[in-house]
Amino acid sequence: MPCAICNGKAAIKYASDGRLLCKPCFFQTFEDAVLHTIEADSLFTPGQRVAIGVSGGKDSSVLTHVLFVLNERHSLGLDLHMVAIDEGIRGYRDDSLACVYRMQERYSLPLVVKSFKGLFGASLDDMDARRTTETPLCSECGVLRRNALLVGSREAQADIMALGHNADDAAEAVILNLMRADTARLGRGTKALTGGADIPRAKPMHRCTQRDIVMYAHLQRLDYFATECTYAPRALRNVPRAILGAAGGVIQGVPLKVMQVGEVLSRRLDTGTRPGLCERCGGMASGRVCQACLVVEAEGKRAREG
């Protein structure tokens, strides 16, 4: 089988469009797709300080590598920093943070680490121990992590955040919000750039499929820590993930198609209301106080009662 670009020997099926590519052309195509998103959605401007949200997992490891490569190759003029969050999940975050420190060495980028314990007074394990129900804390954790990333990015004095969200994540969010009839947030995960708070959030890999990301990480021999969060088996995300997984074997490019539907529907359903800023922390909020501050308040109350 010849490579669709250079006629050399094809080695990889590029999941985004199904083309068969040789290894060098696969790398180039993947990196160019990220560059295209950066340019088409005007994510960054030269001279900006970019805080990359890193977890030690494959998505953020690939994002860091690609941004580092593109910044050099195309003289993007970005001042890259890394921000990591320690949620305090034993047997999960310890190992992935070790990977973040190795990344810091490899790319020589400044790093800010923020912990739930330091910011909110309790680790995720502490919060889980106080729970009386089996419901996992994933949505609360997501809200707090988002807030912690904002605080860490402010500390890094970043102009913008870069996050490793991919097309599969966006498609999962679309399906999850459909099942919940959460029409207001239907297309939220599909945008490459979201503003609102003082530091906007950019997702340069939002059109990259999970398959291509895993392939890229492996073939580049990137160092990352691949394990499931200890709370993940209880997470609601597993439902859309299973649906997408089953469909992926039969239909080409499913995550991108679901994303597209999410984009169209959200445009049609857009009520024109824009989120304001939280009066406590300055983060994005649909009411007067943001979700993160509400979670912190509820957890604080639980801690005092427990």
């Binding site: 080695a11 099926k13 068969l20 392939m215 969060c229 993940a232 997984g245």
Partner: protein, 99 residues
């Protein structure tokens, strides 16, 4: 050791990556193969540390598991029906394990 017996013992190197090393308790394994064995048959024979066929679900390779032979995507060849040869490096990658 008789040389004939050794010659009949064809093996492949199996790599468990992207999270599968945790399920299998190892990153690399040397696995004996029968002549003409396919990727699917090989995947059936590989048991994780709990003795389960972790690469298989409903008689096919689990959704989200990618397979490469000598760093070449099996989708380029015959997919799960690609024949594995002695000395090949077969890599299983999980795209399901944490991002």
């Amino acid at each position: 050791m008789d040389p004939l017996g050794q010659e009949a013992m064809a093996t492949v190197k199996v790599e468990y990556r992207a999270g599968l090393e945790l399920d299998f308790g190892t990153r690399d394994a040397t696995v004996p193969i029968e002549p003409g064995v396919t990727v699917l048959a090989l995947a059936h024979s590989l048991k994780d540390k709990d003795g389960n066929t972790a690469l298989i679900e409903g008689n096919i390779i689990r959704a989200g598991i990618l397979v490469l032979i000598n760093d070449c995507d099996i989708e380029i060849e015959d997919g799960v029906n690609t024949v594995v040869k002695a000395g090949d490096v077969v890599t299983f990658l999980s795209s399901i394990h944490g991002g």
